[in-house]
């Protein structure tokens, strides 16, 4: 079978943030440093090699980039300063773009202008839309109740429609991811039983980020876990308890305690991440792609305006609360519509899926290898 090499692949990856890939001289120091480098997944050097050789199709089928959490050990120990950690990060961005059938993700990653314009346009449309709708049927003095400016019942409906669209988009891309990495791979014949047996991996790795915890330094994992759990809590609250959240002005502690905790979690982790990126405190913060900033900025806007509308509403300032709510939605909608399927947020689906698929595929690969290989090449011990 002919293998196509793309000699411009490194240049393409540089648009996604890759640094100094061509400096690598393949000493294998990075793979030996990495706690996740276990056969059949050897990372990150194998990806560096594939990149240098321009093996686009092979990289598209690789799960290795998703098994890396960018602890940065490899980049720190790299004798060539070839930045393997940043390469894995940029490969994740590139893969996100390639899984996305619309091509929008690729556009956003390659051009920060396109992303900013898209976010601003969606934010403006959202703002105008909700204002028009609010004025057409409600009263700006009313946050809650029969004449509410933005009645939670209808907003709820809007949420569910948006969620459905997102699930379709992200789901299609997840299926594409499965196809590229496992489905089309003739070397890894995965049995149906294996898919079922390993299914526990999806919720398990999503909720605990257990693999991330295997990195030598635990702080990045902890931050990530707090951010993810806060986000998840907020998502559950909004999808199922929006009515209770908006009701007031008295505080309903059954839901609000969760809401406030989640907001605190989101704000703290976002501020810490922003500070880290500005001061470059962690290896993973040394190079920031524009999409990383967009992610943090939207998150900060959404979390702070969410808190603001809560405070304003409880203080009886319904007009201000309604305005804060509109601004909040102007952050939420672009974040969900653009960032979740087409940018950094997508990893919330790809990462656990990759861990699941990697587990399933590894089993098949090992079985295949045992069937095929005669004697191992191992030095006699």
């Amino acid at each position: 079978m002919a293998i196509r090499a793309n000699p411009k692949l490194i240049e393409e990856l540089e648009l996604y943030g890759a640094q100094d890939v061509s400096k690598c001289y393949h000493c294998g120091n990075c793979s030996a440093t990495c706690p996740f480098s276990k056969e059949p997944y050897i990372l990150p050097r194998r990806s560096m090699r594939s990149l240098q050789m321009g093996l686009e199709d092979k990289l598209l089928g690789d799960l290795e980039p998703w098994l890396c959490y960018y602890c940065g050990e490899c980049s720190q120990e790299c004798p060539r300063d070839a930045e393997p950690g940043e390469t894995m990060m940029s490969l994740r961005r590139w893969l996100t773009a390639r899984y996305d059938f619309t091509g929008i993700a690729g556009l956003f990653y390659r051009s920060w202008r396109a992303e900013v314009i898209a976010v601003l346009v969606v934010a403006m449309l959202t703002g105008i839309g909700f204002l028009l709708w609010g004025f057409s049927q409600g009263n700006i003095d009313q946050y809650d109740g029969p004449n509410a400016f933005l009645p939670s019942g209808q907003v709820h409906l809007f949420d569910w429609v948006m969620a459905a669209v997102l699930i379709v988009l992200l789901g299609t891309n997840c299926i594409r991811m499965w196809w590229f990495t496992v489905g089309r791979d003739k070397d890894a014949r995965v049995s149906f039983g294996a898919y079922v047996r390993k299914l526990y991996q999806l919720p398990y790795s999503f909720l605990t980020q257990a693999r991330y915890a295997q990195c030598e330094r635990k702080r990045p994992w902890l931050l990530h876990l707090v951010l993810m759990l806060s986000y998840l809590t907020m998502l559950v609250l909004i999808m199922f308890f929006l009515g209770e959240m908006a009701a007031g002005p008295e505080v309903d502690w059954r839901v609000h305690v969760f809401g406030l905790l989640a907001t605190a979690g989101l704000l703290t982790t976002t501020i810490l991440a922003m500070r880290g990126r500005l001061r470059k405190t962690e290896p993973l913060y040394r190079y920031s792609h524009e999409t990383d900033w967009m992610f943090l900025i939207l998150l900060a806007v959404v979390a702070s305006t969410g808190l603001l509308q809560f405070v304003l509403h409880r203080s009886g300032l319904d007009v201000a609360a309604n305005i804060a709510y509109v601004v909040h939605l102007m952050g939420v909608v672009p974040m969900l519509v653009l960032e979740v399927p087409f940018s950094k947020w997508a990893h919330l689906a790809y990462r656990p899926l990759a861990i699941y698929l990697a587990d399933v595929k590894a089993e098949a690969l090992v079985a295949e290898k045992q069937a095929a290989a005669p004697a191992p090449l191992a030095p006699a011990a």
Binding site: C27, A32, A381
Partner: protein, 603 residues
């Protein structure tokens, strides 16, 4: 003739002292120069645009000036060819090669550009005047380089003063067991030379001494040597060991790289030259207590040659030439924590292993792992090599490039580590045929005569040669695990081993910079002495009458060191034979070089 000068830098090396602005404005005023452009650091050269520019300006010659202009030559040659010009007329003005890093920075860079513009090789134009030369020579450093140079000069009948910092000559080579690739016994080659130095009537040997200061001019240097207090009269000592037998103080032996102890009164090794004891004042109870305690060695000495109260003394000499052969230190392996050196007992450096496997070493050449012994004095357990009860390792891992070829440590290749690592594998397998031996390498640099064959031989002998750098050595249940990626068979390896040998790289000896400052010499960005011209004058320096040889000029193996040491002798003897030696290059002014270059063009 129409000439274009392009300044392009690669940004490597210490060339901060060169002002590229001053160089460009100087070049613009040179005759026939039509275009001068400063393209900055690592410019992206568009060959088509460059060719158009060269054609439009009708340039006959292009000069690329910069720290390493050869880097950009292919682009300019292609552009010149495309413009229809003569590709041979792309000339280089290399600041780095011609020593523009030495304080004379900008003016040297200007003269290098002037020569390139005129089409005259810089070394032809920059020839300093000669000075009268004193027939004596100072050789600094008594390793194989210094020994060879001293013998060559002394055998020609000229007086040599050989100064060595430690108590014996021999240097690192005396510690080695075998040489590569011939597996000759290192001592068998070195010891006769050491003895010859000790007995030579034309060599004044000063061990345990250091160069205190250097004054004077090329051909007529006045040097002061600090003769450190040896406290034992080397001429009358017969090395009977009576003193060491009674000495109560033990410290790690430098010669054995700390894997064995010596007394405070000691002889570095039995074949030392001079074969005499000395007292280490830092460890001596008598010296440390200002004469209040001990002194038992002086009472025991049958020859009465111990003078415990001796002090350092300064001795002045006049010499015409100075040969620097100061050698190297090995990279400090404790700086790479993940290899566990200093925390895991059986992780050794290359020099420690040399002593372990050496038949004259502490274990008599028996390769054993360290075992625990109770120190009676401190009541603590310590790890030591025990020749009788020690266990032979069942597997040994050798890690290449420790501290070398690494942006986090030393960027350069230390040149000898691949070969000595292969030699180690051979020695391990020769003495312990049952033991597994793993070599972790990045690239196998077997560049010398017979080296590649040697590498193939070691592989054929059954050493497992793994292409992949080890990232870490960890301890698991008392065993060490060496983790790496075997790149050629595409898998991760975790080998349990009993011993790890770190192939530490070479670094300039501790005192190199001090000597460079004393003599006004340049060192390169890695700290090695800068030679006058990398290709044409590899043993001369910027300073007239000062020569370099051996590893202090750059990492090299024993054959290359010996060859360079002999080459140095030729330079020194040429000066003595003609009675004239070259003055320092710094004595030449820009106008001198310009004038001479112009004269050469007219010829």
């Amino acid at each position: 003739m129409r000439i274009g000068v392009y300044v392009c830098q690669t940004g490597t090396g210490d060339l901060d002292s060169v002002s590229s602005h001053a160089v460009t404005s100087y070049a613009a005023n040179l005759p026939s120069v039509e275009i001068v452009e400063d393209l900055g650091t690592l410019p992206t050269l568009d060959i088509a645009a460059l060719a158009t520019q060269l054609r439009d300006a009708r340039l006959d010659r292009v000069v690329i000036a910069g720290d390493s202009p050869g880097f950009f030559k292919p682009a300019f040659t292609a552009a010149m060819a495309r413009a229809g010009g003569d590709p041979e007329e792309v000339r280089l003005a290399s600041f780095k090669e011609h020593g523009a890093s030495t304080g004379v920075g900008t003016s040297r860079a200007k003269s290098v550009v002037a020569c390139a513009v005129l089409g005259v090789p810089f070394p032809l134009a920059a020839v300093p005047a000669t000075t009268a030369v004193h027939p004596g020579t100072l050789v600094v450093g008594g390793g194989i380089a210094g020994i060879q140079a001293a013998l060559e000069i002394a055998d020609a009948g000229k007086q040599v003063l050989l100064v060595e910092r430690t108590a014996t000559i021999g240097g690192h080579m005396a510690m080695f067991d075998k040489t590569f690739p011939t597996l000759d016994c290192a001592a068998c080659i070195l010891t006769p030379k050491m003895v010859a130095v000790g007995q030579h009537e034309s060599i004044e040997l000063m061990t345990y001494s250091e160069v205190e200061s250097v004054a004077g001019d090329p051909g007529d240097y006045k040097v002061t040597i600090r003769r450190k207090a040896r406290r034992v009269d080397a001429d009358s000592c017969v090395a009977c060991t009576a003193c060491a037998d009674v000495c109560p103080s033990r410290v790690p032996s430098e010669f054995d790289n700390g894997i064995a102890d010596r007394k405070a009164i000691y002889i570095p090794f039995p074949q030392a030259v001079p074969n005499a004891y000395l007292i280490d004042g830092e460890a001596c109870t008598y010296v440390q207590s200002d004469g209040a305690k001990c002194g038992v060695c002086a009472r025991k000495c049958p020859k009465g040659c111990i003078d415990l109260d001796q002090e350092d003394e300064l001795v002045a000499f006049e010499v015409g030439s100075i040969v620097l052969a100061t050698g190297y230190d090995v990279y400090d392996a404790t700086r790479i924590e993940r290899y566990g050196y200093g925390t895991l007992p059986n992780v050794l450096t290359a020099l420690e292993f040399e002593r372990l496997t050496n038949a004259s070493g502490p274990t008599g050449g028996k390769i054993v792992t360290k075992s625990v012994r109770r120190n009676k004095k401190t009541k603590a357990d310590e790890w030591v090599f025990d020749a009788e009860n020690g266990v032979s390792p069942r597997s040994v891992a050798i890690v290449h490039c420790v501290g070398s070829r690494d942006a986090n440590h030393n960027p350069y290749c230390s040149r000898v580590c691949c070969m000595y690592s292969l030699k180690f594998a051979h020695l391990v397998r020769e003495k312990l045929p049952e033991a597994d031996c793993y070599e972790f390498y990045i690239d196998m640099r077997a560049f010398g005569k017979g080296y590649e064959e040697f590498a193939e031989r070691i592989k054929a002998e059954g050493t497992f040669v793994v292409r992949g750098r080890t990232a870490k050595v960890t301890e698991q249940d008392g065993a060490m695990i060496v983790r790496g990626e075997d790149i050629l068979s595409d898998r991760m390896v975790d080998f349990p081993v009993d011993m790890v040998i770190l192939a530490v790289g070479l670094v300039p000896a501790e005192g190199n910079r001090r000597i460079a400052d004393q003599l006004g010499l340049a060192v390169d960005s890695d700290g090695w002495f800068s030679e006058l011209d990398y290709n044409a004058d590899p043993t001369d320096t910027e300073r007239g009458g000062v020569y370099v040889c051996g590893v202090c000029q750059g990492p090299k193996d024993i054959p290359d060191t010996v060859a360079q040491a002999s080459a140095v002798a030729a330079g020194v003897l040429k000066g003595i034979a003609t009675g004239r030696s070259r003055d320092s290059l710094a004595s030449l002014s820009l106008s001198d070089i310009e004038k001479r270059a112009a004269d050469l063009v007219e010829l």
